[in-house]
């Protein structure tokens, strides 16, 4: 782990205070049999390379192209998402909220950083930061404007506060001009932010 070392010293190595704390915790947990080093490595690799917003984009694209799946996703998101192989290790309950011309949905975790990992991966820095967490509820329109999203005045905004038990996935509106597109092609229009509600799906032609 190259970052753990401080190369200013000629003799001996030095670990940063925080790296020492992590090593202490980990070595004790391993010795006591509470965690296995291999399991930790697998977890890290999974979150670094396998789980991310492409999972959620496939869920959304399938809902856009298959009305039955969409109905299922809105009625029982946990099961509909799991059917595509995306299951939360945390066993959290998933809820899908659908954007319509009259209602835009925005997801936040005011307490900390609860987020639908199985479909979006780990949250971006801004999602975990105090300004977003505090302002999304008080001034959602202002927050959206900062993301470059201005909604019509008569579009209501619903803000959903995630918890350890319930995680939300926004189902963005399908862009016009995409009739007859395959689910695979549609999924390329689905951005991470459109599934959090700080953006909308890309228009055809906006992807390369």
């Amino acid at each position: 782990m190259p970052h753990d070392h401080d190369h200013d010293h000629d003799e001996g190595s030095e670990l940063s205070p925080i790296a020492l704390r992590v090593k202490a915790l980990e070595s004790l947990l391993v010795e006591k049999g509470y965690v296995e080093p291999e399991a930790l490595d697998t977890l890290i690799e999974t979150y670094e390379t396998k789980i991310g917003p492409r999972n959620g984009a496939r869920v959304v694209a399938k809902a856009w192209s298959d009305p039955k799946y969409k109905a299922w996703l809105l009625a029982d998101a946990t099961a509909a998402i799991a059917s595509l192989g995306y299951t939360g290790r945390q066993g959290e309950h998933m809820v899908t909220v659908e954007n319509t011309p009259g209602t835009h949905n925005l997801v936040v975790c005011t307490l900390c950083s609860c987020y639908p990992w199985s479909v979006l991966g780990l949250p971006p820095v801004w999602y975990k930061a105090p300004p977003y967490r505090s302002r999304a509820v008080i001034d959602p329109r202002g927050v959206l404007a900062e993301f470059g999203l201005t909604l019509p005045d008569d579009t209501a905004i619903s803000v959903w506060d995630s918890t350890a038990e319930i995680r939300y996935l926004v189902l963005p509106m399908r862009p016009q001009g995409t009739e007859g597109w395959s689910a695979e092609k549609l999924s390329q229009l689905v951005t991470r932010d459109s599934m959090i509600g700080t953006g909308i799906a890309l228009k055809p032609g906006a992807t390369s």
Partner: protein, 98 residues
Amino acid sequence: MNPPDEPVFNEPWEAQAFAMAVSLEAKGLFTWTEWAEALGREIKMQGTRSYYECWLAALEKLVEEKRLMSADERLARIEAWDRAAKATPHGKPIELGR
């Protein structure tokens, strides 16, 4: 638009701290509700700490609350790793003396 994202973890220790919490919950040693409360408490008094520093602090407190280890044990282990690191020449893996 989707700007290129920051890396999932900025430093290896962040990944380790993340994986420990996820792993302990998966084994039922605490629940996500307990974890969210612990992390929420740290984030409420975040100050200048980074997100994963809060994460680590929450984990240290929760393993103690859940009696997986004592604070004394943990602090002694930190010192042991520090001594081991300082006694290890560069380029060699750092190992705890037995």
